[in-house]
């Protein structure tokens, strides 16, 4: 199985949020990161990160600019996606208390509670053991963070805090309520990049195609 490591093209959903930090973390993890604001940019990606930000803002912009349906289609067809904080909310099949018109991409069979840990004054850092990430605890930075209220049978809980799941995985979808991109520790991004490589390899075997068919443009 010792094939040379590929450099997957991983998009960062760049409508709003801490995009720069994710681009840097992905670059350090051996991926080629690109900012994605348009359906055409999504088409060239082997995987996607949905960053932290305001989930209501992201949802409205994604609908306005025609990204929601293409993104759902890619999720259905197995593209790996990693969401942090607002990105976790975007990957949830259901939000407990959505704002009017707030849509999610969905894909992970879970219900999330927005701002579950409280307002900014309750935002905190704590070390967390994260299944699948070797080398000791990761630093969890929780900012007005959601938690996972409940999960379906196919969802693997990778970490919990205070009894609530805060990191989950279902198939090729990964979500954390906290922000590894703010810490300089890129192990979670390395895990995700490995997930994208694996998906690319199985996709290549299935279709005989290359990992990404479209050239990419670095927008930043």
């Amino acid at each position: 199985m010792s094939v040379p490591e590929t450099t997957p093209v991983i998009g960062v959903f760049a409508l709003q949020g801490d995009v720069r930090e994710h681009l840097a973390a992905l670059r350090s993890s051996g991926a080629e990161p690109v900012a994605v604001r348009r359906p055409g940019e999504l088409a060239g990606c082997d995987g996607l990160v949905i960053p932290g930000g305001e989930s209501t803002t992201m949802s409205k912009l994604a609908v306005s600019f025609g990204l929601m349906e293409p993104l759902r289609a890619r999720v259905r067809s197995g593209m790996p996606v990693y969401g942090t904080c607002a990105g976790m909310i975007m990957l949830a099949d259901k939000i407990l208390d959505p704002r009017s018109g707030q849509e999610t991409v969905g894909g992970i069979d879970m219900i999330v509670r927005r701002n579950a840990f409280g307002r900014q004054n309750e935002s905190f850092e704590a070390a967390l053991d994260l299944a699948g990430v070797p080398g000791g605890p990761v630093e969890g930075v929780f900012i007005r963070a959601p938690w996972v209220e409940s999960t379906g049978a196919g969802v693997e809980v990778l970490a919990s805090y205070d009894g609530h799941p805060v990191a989950v995985r279902q198939g090729s979808l990964l979500a954390t309520a906290f922000h590894p991109e703010l810490t300089g520790d890129h192990r979670v991004h390395a895990l995700f990049t490995a997930m994208v490589r694996t998906a690319g390899e199985s996709g290549r075997e299935a279709s005989g195609g290359r990992i990404s068919g479209v050239g990419s443009v670095d927008c930043r």
Binding site: G17, R37, G53, T56, L61, R99, G118, Q120, I143
Partner: protein, 309 residues
């Protein structure tokens, strides 16, 4: 959940959770990047802002244009009014304290606002000292007209900077001046060697450590937004092209003819700031923009940007 501190609940050998750290405060601003923060004076306006895609709202009693018109001393808003807005929306809520009025800031922290703006739009309470912002769990955003001012605020604990502009005028000229000034001064630092950075720190009247950090990063160590005079989608996109990571819009939205439409348009133009076709498209039929004031006719006493130092 708001009264439950996570510090009481985590079992096991892991370190105790920490609130109010620099990373949590600055990290909060990182989440606002690419977004628009809108001034609102009622819960109804806050909802319009949230529906339009604002990343946060600034709760205040009067928008800067009205503070200008009414005159008198401008203070922190009524706690009832701030709480009403906190309860109306799920996005972060910011509120303003006077410069140096650390008790107003304590009150805002107690109310649970997500960010405190120590703002020159209100009448300064201290002519020498800004508040010690390290003493708070709630993060602060502060205005700046140049790099030295920005770094002095950061050294006092500010976790986010906004260029000041001239609030309540609907005229973007001062915001442009301040953003260009800050970016030019950062660019200049990048060309200096270690020896020269000591003299630069002295010139900027800012801590050497921060000056060195900026020279290395090529940007501020905190998020930089633009504020003061943004009234149109093109204004917002202009500030982003000049280097702002997001924008505050004060009087520009709710002093215009069709606030909901204009708010949504400014949000879209802020995201697609480098795409003139999107900006053109969202700029159509927005109704009347706020009338605006020419800054060169403003007497010195009515210029807010000179408040703070």
């Amino acid at each position: 959940m708001s009264s439950t501190s996570p510090s009481t609940s985590q079992p096991g050998p892991l370190q105790a959770p920490a609130t109010g750290t620099a990373r949590v405060k600055r990290g909060m601003a990182e989440q606002l990047k690419g977004g628009v923060i809108m001034d609102v004076v009622t819960p109804e306006q806050a909802k319009i802002a949230e529906d339009a895609g604002a990343v946060a709202v600034m709760a205040l009693e009067r928008v800067p244009a009205d503070i200008r018109k009414d005159g008198g001393v401008a203070r922190m808003s009524d706690p009832d009014m701030i709480e009403g807005i906190i309860n109306a929306v799920s996005i972060p809520v910011m509120a303003k304290s006077r410069i140096g009025h650390f008790v107003e800031a304590q009150v805002l922290q107690a109310l649970g606002v997500d960010y405190i703006d120590e703002s020159e739009v209100l009448t300064p309470a201290d002519e020498v000292n800004h508040s010690d912002k390290w003493a708070f769990t709630t993060p602060f955003v502060c205005g700046a007209t140049n790099l030295g001012e920005a770094l002095r605020r950061i050294s006092e604990g500010a976790a986010m900077i906004r260029s000041k502009g001239e609030a309540g005028t609907g005229n973007v000229v001062e915001a442009v001046r301040h953003m260009r000034q800050i970016k030019n001064e950062i660019a200049r630092l990048k060309g200096l060697d270690d020896t020269e950075l000591y003299a630069a720190a002295k010139e900027l009247r800012a801590p050497h450590e921060l000056v060195k950090e900026v020279a290395g990063l090529g940007r501020l160590p905190v998020v930089l937004f633009s504020a003061g005079g943004v009234a149109t989608p093109a204004d917002a996109a202009l500030m982003r092209q000049l280097g702002a990571e997001g924008v505050f819009v004060g009087s520009g939205i709710f002093k215009s003819g069709d606030p909901a439409r204009r708010a949504a348009a400014i949000v879209k133009a802020t995201t697609f700031y480098d795409d003139p076709e999107v900006i053109a498209d969202v700029s159509r039929n927005l109704g009347e923009a706020m009338v605006g004031i020419n800054c060169d006719t403003l007497p010195e006493s009515e210029r807010y940007a000179g408040r703070g130092w």
